[in-house]
Symmetry: C2
Subunit: 340 residues, 2 copies
């Protein structure tokens, strides 16, 4: 084994290595950076010495000098239910794909969860830290205006969320309104005649899903009501239970804002002896893994999370290059299983 502990400790800086190789630090830097202006033999010598001593250039110093860090910030603004979202399997899946994409492009990922209520300055602080070359915001939460403000003066930012006409920040996301339409259409096609939307209509994405469903309902003359529900699993169960007993018999088609909510809803419906889809039809949103494991498996509106992550990263890269990119709206897809 060539890199024993002694060797590993001894040569920490590019200058150490330069001394060993009998050249100047500048040359070592150039050699390691793979620049063309260094003699093939010198380069080889330097590279082998570097390997031998397990040397790696200090990224902080490099970052400082070059004014770029090779790190992309990923920030998750948490809404009112503070602890909610990170356990949400949707966000997590997106994060996983983002990590993959960024790694593939040679970037590191710095993750931050923030509570905008406690820290109005969350976005500027992150951007201004000098630690990141660009930022991906996962979810607009209730921070639309703040994000718009920042977008005016800071190019390398891309946001996962909902697109609204004329907004100034670059966003990637599913066409939630269309998704809502698909869901409502399916419920009605499956025979539902009185609809309900289960979820929190505060966040823009959810509001758009509801709006899409309402469009369809109104067009077809079907009533639809909102059943406001928090997303944190502990609160949600109780709220859903209450909703279900309240609407008893007045609703035969439920559109849940999320598969997670749909799954909980399924459990509560079963507990009250309501049969899905015979008594009540149910449609979810996201097509998370859980959707195919419920009983019955969920009919849901699929978001292509992998494509979303790819889009976020590609757009961000172009913005890092100076482009003013447009937003990217992805098409949702209805996946019919057995709950509606």
């Amino acid at each position: 084994m060539s890199e024993d502990k002694a060797a590993r400790g001894s040569v920490r800086t590019i200058t150490d290595l330069a001394r060993l190789a009998g050249v100047s630090p500048g040359t070592v830097s150039r050699a390691l950076a793979g620049k063309s202006l260094v003699n093939a033999k010198t380069r080889e010598k330097i590279e082998s010495l570097a390997r031998e001593h397990g040397f790696r250039p200090n990224q902080m110093a490099s970052g400082l000098r070059r004014q770029k860090t090779g790190v992309i910030g990923v920030v998750i603004p948490l809404g009112h239910d503070t602890r909610q979202q990170i356990s949400d399997s949707f966000f997590m899946t997106l994060l996983g794909h983002l990590a993959d994409e960024l790694t593939r492009e040679g970037y590191d990922l710095m993750l931050r969860r923030v509570v905008p209520e406690d820290d109005a300055d969350w976005l500027d602080r992150f951007i201004g830290s000098g630690m990141i070359d660009g930022v991906i915001v996962i979810g607009q939460s209730d921070q639309f205006e703040r994000i718009e403000d920042v977008a005016d003066g800071y190019l390398p930012m891309v946001v996962w969320g909902n697109h609204t006409q004329g907004q100034r920040h670059c966003v990637v996301g599913t066409d939630n309104r269309l998704g809502g339409k698909l869901a409502a259409e399916r419920l009605i096609a499956a025979g539902a005649t009185r609809l309900a939307f289960l979820g929190d209509t505060g966040p823009m994405e959810f509001a758009a899903r509801f709006a899409g469903a309402r469009d369809v309902a109104e067009r077809l003359g079907v009533p639809i009501m909102a059943l406001p529900t928090h997303l944190s699993p502990d609160r949600a169960s109780a709220e859903i239970a209450r909703h279900i007993s309240a609407i008893d018999g007045q609703v035969d088609g439920i559109f849940a804002a999320t598969d997670t909510l749909a799954a909980l809803c399924l459990t509560e419906l079963r507990a009250r002896g309501l049969v899905v889809p015979d008594g009540v039809k149910l449609v979810g949103f996201d097509d998370l893994p859980i959707a195919r494991q419920t009983v019955p498996p969920l009919t849901t509106v699929r978001q292509d999370i992998a494509a979303g992550a790819r889009g976020l990263v590609q757009l961000l890269l172009r913005r890092l290059g100076g482009d003013e990119t447009e937003s990217l709206v992805l098409p949702p897809q209805l996946v019919i299983r057995h709950s509606a």
Copy 2:
């Protein structure tokens, strides 16, 4: 609004701010760092100027000078099924808690997924990058030896995983062997007489779970077999299906390495008309959210993920302070629901 765009752009460095305040950069630095050696009035002036111009000190420069970054690396080594783990809801939940804990302690989190097979140097590279003050490794995968090697020369590292007698790296994790025992005992108490372990026994955690179950089975004279299964959901389903038809009638108690596998198994069992728990008993591991949503809800062995995250962070902090901390083994807890 005090920080308009002009202001935001103009004062980027501590020197700019010093000029504005009519003091030297050193004083500004001290004021912003909250040191006691600066006059109350000067400090106030500097702070208000900083606020007004939205100034934030550059973390790279600060990190370079102080030789610490305020960033903790979190690295997830991926095993053979490359894409597997990040979507695994267990890892994700742990990551969420880690993010919270680290934030609370004032650290940022840098996330890296690595494929050790492609990059033997994954751990040294991360540590040597100079970007992180310490590292948390999530899962030993098949990299036990590599981690041991590094542990000898690098203090601020804590690993999530399995504890084995006499190992040299500091680990936090559940007592998997005990967990396996609990699972097997429950299966047998529920009436099972021929057991099977469903999962991959390659990773140490899973091997220990299997070993624990085998201990019990052998002691009680009950046969137990291993049903090797990959963890990636796509492959797992098919493999489980195959296992189930292969063992038809020869097994009446299944211990799944993970709730995720257990849930898939439940689906496959149902598809083959086997009733849980009447025909086959089933016990999972982790107590993920999904465990309470399956039909029937899963009996499982609970890992306290939040406590694990807390432990990882606390131990790491002590190591950053120079302590040689011991490992932390958490007790698993049997959660009895309806699948066994």
